[in-house]
Amino acid sequence: MKRYGMHLFILAGLVLLVSLPTIGLVNYLDASAKTSATYKETTVAGIDVSGMTKEEAVVRLDNAIKDFNNTPFTVTLVDGTALEVGKDVVSFNVDATLKSASEPGTYPLVTTVDEERLTPYLENQPVTLSMVTPPLVEAASNLNSDVVLEMTATESEVVASITVSPTPAMRSALERMNGFEMEAGDIFSLKAFGEDFDALSTLGSSMYQLFAATPFQILERVQHETLPTGIELGYDVKVDERSNFAVQNTEQTAYALIVLEEGNAMTVQLLGKTFVGAYESRVEDVTSVPYQNIVRFSPSLTAGSSSVTQSGQTGESGKLYRVRITDTGESLELLGFDFYEPIPEIVTKSSVPLPPPEPVEPIIPTFPDETLEDDPFDDDVEDDGLNQFDEQPPVHDTDPVLSEGAVG
């Protein structure tokens, strides 16, 4: 046993004697290689660090970052307005940048954006965090203070706009919609921006109005059975579990939806390249369909009474056209034909016949110059001063007949 212990001790000692100095020496060589290495043909954020060791490069980049932080960012929005954003929203990781710069080349600074600090700068601006953050990071990583929010489209004109008075649910959907970019061929799906179908239906009507005045293709639009109050005929949109409102960008360039808040109202703008020709939407062939009157009889009602069981509503129909106006003239495209059935008015009347009228004693007027001798029948026994020839009750030959026709 003692022999085994000695062999174990000697073997373990020899293993440590060989491996530990090796590990130590390798560590030392690595560390010295890193500190003495210099960058070759390397540029970081536009600053040439060739021939510098890591320590020298860190000092050089730190100084460059200090200079960069002296002036704020100038963010040019898609509508051309310039917005100043403080440099405190970005932070740089110089060590990680230099660590990644192991090969000769051009490297950007590793940059992170503090979204909590950036958010206040973007309040009431027609931009979202997702629109600003990537170009801001790109500009900052190259120590560039000018940020231009570019779209794929070369021109950024307001090609269509609508103003809505949103409910809180609509406002939420519009805020999510803000900054939505539609590349060529992309589809706008209204359901993607909210879950409240009532709010989306109301909003969908406005969005339909917006897109009807563009060459975009309306992929899906469903109308209600009855025209909701406050919705203009022709622009009715119903969004629920089964139906949606979807539009496809059929143009060759990208377009973006920008939502601007103006007090209680919100304006939705479609930005992008100006369309070839002017587009507008028009509702034509508006017709009104009168409702039918239906009379029903019920024995439960008291004799002679009636009540309106269902009030009538006039039906209507209209065609929505997309009008394209060019130098050569107008061209119409039928987008939708909405028809709402009229609702008949139902009146319930009592089927109980009226009781026969009770006999009424007629009143015969008297005249001052009439005397008792003028009574030709001499039957006024009590001499009440009245002619008595009408004292018999009237006799009806026929029963009263209802004049209305019965339907239903």
């Binding site: 022999r3 085994y4 000695m6 062999h7 174990l8 000697i10 073997l11 373990a12 020899l14 293993v15 440590l16 004697l17 060989v18 491996s19 100095p21 090796t22 590990i23 020496l25 390798v26 060589l29």
Partner: protein, 93 residues
Amino acid sequence: MIGYLILIAFWVLATLTVFALSIPYIRKRETKGVIALLVAVLSLGVYSLYVEGLERTWWAWVLLTLGLAGGAALSAFIEQRDVAQEVPQRMVK
């Protein structure tokens, strides 16, 4: 790569030292050779464990421990083997 070369260098030094010194319990050249080979294998294991970052891997340590214990047992066995044949021979007049 340089690490493995350094490892070989240190192993050569250790092996030469083992063969050169007279170590109690390791008298046979055969035992010394086995120990030298075991040191090479186990040192390579320890260095690989460091290079590959397996310091927190339990099975790597278990493997090393088993190798060490098995190697010690093997060298002890080889050292003890054929000892009976080395009984002092009869004195020759």
